[in-house]
């Protein structure tokens, strides 16, 4: 077992058989950082912990020497790990990307599985119904081919992995961005972080940018050519927007984005959880919008002066 003083080797009954000292602290740090340096067995760790003073004495060091050495090594190790550790928001973006790709892959595989299953002609009962990999693994094993059975198992495993990853992402979000998660929900919060390129970047974005994050195409079409500015980007997924009628969405999106900007700033600069107050503020505004704009307005005909920018190519209608 590797320790700040050097390497101890124990025999199976917990006796010490060998001690190899290591000259410099730097060397110990380097060794501790290699993955294979992890303690080998729990017996070793337990023996080391319960006989530490005796073991240190055997190396010829005093306990004071040893604890100073340990402190230096811990500081060095911490610095070295910090230098190459990804930030929390980077980990969130990575998890989100993995989740997205996983979903894509699962769709393809599930489709293939359903095809195999119906083509084999053994499952007329499932016609028209969605066939879950569980159904095949659990009930139809004897009817299906080896190919689809194996595939079904893999899909099932991937679905389990996806569940774990989602939970992990949620935990990371609650920890690194409690305000954003509280206001937008962990998943939407993570998407916003990814779209902005990091929590820090989200925190320095104005609310108006957060409002249209993910609607860049519509935004630039509006700026360069013609068309209305987008009312919402990714934040459309927030239920208060997607479940509201169209004429309220812009107003709600605007105030939600403003609150999200505040939330991102608290998350970046103080970490204090003030999501409840933020949420209450936003909900008040949300109710006010609902109340003051209860019915569909008559659409006004807007006569636009043609823009002076020379347009290239075919004129395309606005995508709705």
């Amino acid at each position: 077992m590797l320790t700040p003083a050097g390497e101890f080797k124990f025999n199976s009954t917990g006796g010490l058989i060998e001690f190899k000292s290591i000259d410099s602290d730097e060397e110990v740090v380097k060794l501790l950082m290699t993955p294979s340096a992890a303690p080998t067995t729990s017996e070793d760790v337990r023996f080391f912990l319960s006989h530490q003073h005796m073991l240190v004495e055997k190396t010829g060091l005093t306990w004071e020497d040893y604890s100073e050495m340990r402190r230096r090594v811990a500081l060095g190790l911490c610095q070295a790990y910090l230098a190459r550790a990804p930030g929390d928001d980077e980990l969130i973006i990575e998890a989100l990307g993995t989740l997205k790709d996983l979903q894509k892959a699962l769709n393809i595989l599930a489709l293939r599985l359903a095809q195999n299953y119906t083509e084999s002609g053994v499952a007329p009962a499932y016609e028209g119904e969605e066939i879950s990999p569980e159904t095949i693994v659990d009930t139809g094993v004897s009817h299906t081919t080896n190919v689809s059975e194996g595939l079904a198992r893999q899909i099932k495993a991937l679905i389990e992995y996806r569940g774990g990853l989602e939970e992990e992402l949620e935990i990371m979000m609650m920890r690194t961005a409690p305000n954003l998660s509280g206001l937008a929900g962990p998943l939407l919060g993570a998407r916003l972080i990814a779209a902005a390129g990091g929590l820090g970047k989200l925190a320095v974005s104005p609310g108006s940018r957060i409002q249209v994050l993910g609607a860049e195409r519509a935004m630039f079409r509006h700026l360069k050519e013609r068309g209305d500015p987008p009312k919402h980007g990714i934040i459309f997924q927030h239920p208060t927007i997607s479940k509201s009628p169209w004429w309220q969405r812009g107003k709600i999106a605007r105030s939600l984005a403003a609150k999200l900007a505040i939330a991102a700033r608290i998350d970046t600069f103080s970490k204090e959880d003030r999501s409840e107050a933020l949420r209450a503020d936003f909900m008040r505004r949300y109710e006010a919008v609902k109340k003051s704009h209860p019915s569909e307005p008559r659409r006004m005909k807007v006569v636009r002066a043609p823009k002076t920018v020379k347009k290239k190519g075919r004129r395309r209608g606005r995508k709705r």
Partner: protein, 221 residues
């Protein structure tokens, strides 16, 4: 001014600890000098341990000379006071897994000689075994769903026989859909097989839906 626990002073309803590094502040706390000793005021809104003491905590196992394993050290607000409490003869092993808080924690550890930074995930206690020793107290404030399991694993390896645990439970980070009391009762039930529960302190009005649990490791039968 009176001394509520060894190393903890109470001045006009505010707690304070004896500054290990006179003249230095860790966060935005106030420094007060009385009788030639410099005290750092201990804000109960920033530190759950301070809130617990103000709310009538009876056993404070963190004493001068204690060895502490602190899981979820964050940027070091509470840890700095724990470091004051254990003094020069004690040690605080500070485990923190996030990069940003660790950056400021490391700066603190460089200044305070009784603190040891451990940039590891508390879910995997074996990974930091090389730098550890047996401790008198494990203080945990991790706000994670499996916090009871994390505590169990660490106490099994590192806590001395009849050592103490102090556990801050945030009901919301375990299950936000259930009632606070239910969640807390369930988490305490999880501790019962291995620990003797001594105190459960509600942290209102300083923290909502939080409690501090103090318990003792059961002697092996």
């Amino acid at each position: 001014m009176k001394e509520t626990f060894p190393g903890v002073a109470e001045i006009d309803g505010m707690l304070a600890t004896v500054n290990l590094l006179p003249g230095e502040r860790v966060y935005d706390e106030k420094l007060v000098e009385t009788g030639g000793v410099e005290l750092r005021l201990w804000n109960p809104n920033r530190s759950k341990l301070s809130a617990a003491i103000l709310n009538g905590l009876e056993t404070l196992p963190i004493k001068p000379g204690s060895k502490i394993l602190y899981l979820g050290a964050a940027s070091g607000t509470t840890v700095s006071h724990v470091s004051d409490l254990v003094g020069e003869d004690g040690v605080v092993f500070c485990v923190e897994h996030s990069k940003k808080p660790m950056e400021s924690l490391l700066r603190l550890c460089i200044r305070r000689e009784n603190m040891i930074p451990l940039f590891y995930d508390a879910n995997h206690p074996y990974r930091y075994a090389s730098l550890m020793e047996k401790v008198d107290v494990i203080y945990q404030d991790v706000a994670q769903k499996n916090q009871a399991e994390i505590l169990e694993k660490n106490a099994d390896l590192y806590l001395k026989e009849s050592g103490f645990i102090m556990l801050a439970i945030k009901a919301k980070s375990i299950d936000s859909s259930k009632k606070t009391d239910e969640v807390i009762a369930q988490e305490i039930a999880r501790l019962k097989p291995s620990f003797k529960i001594l105190e459960v302190i509600d942290l209102e009005p300083f923290e909502k839906d939080h409690v501090m649990v103090v318990a003792e490791k059961n002697a092996k039968l």
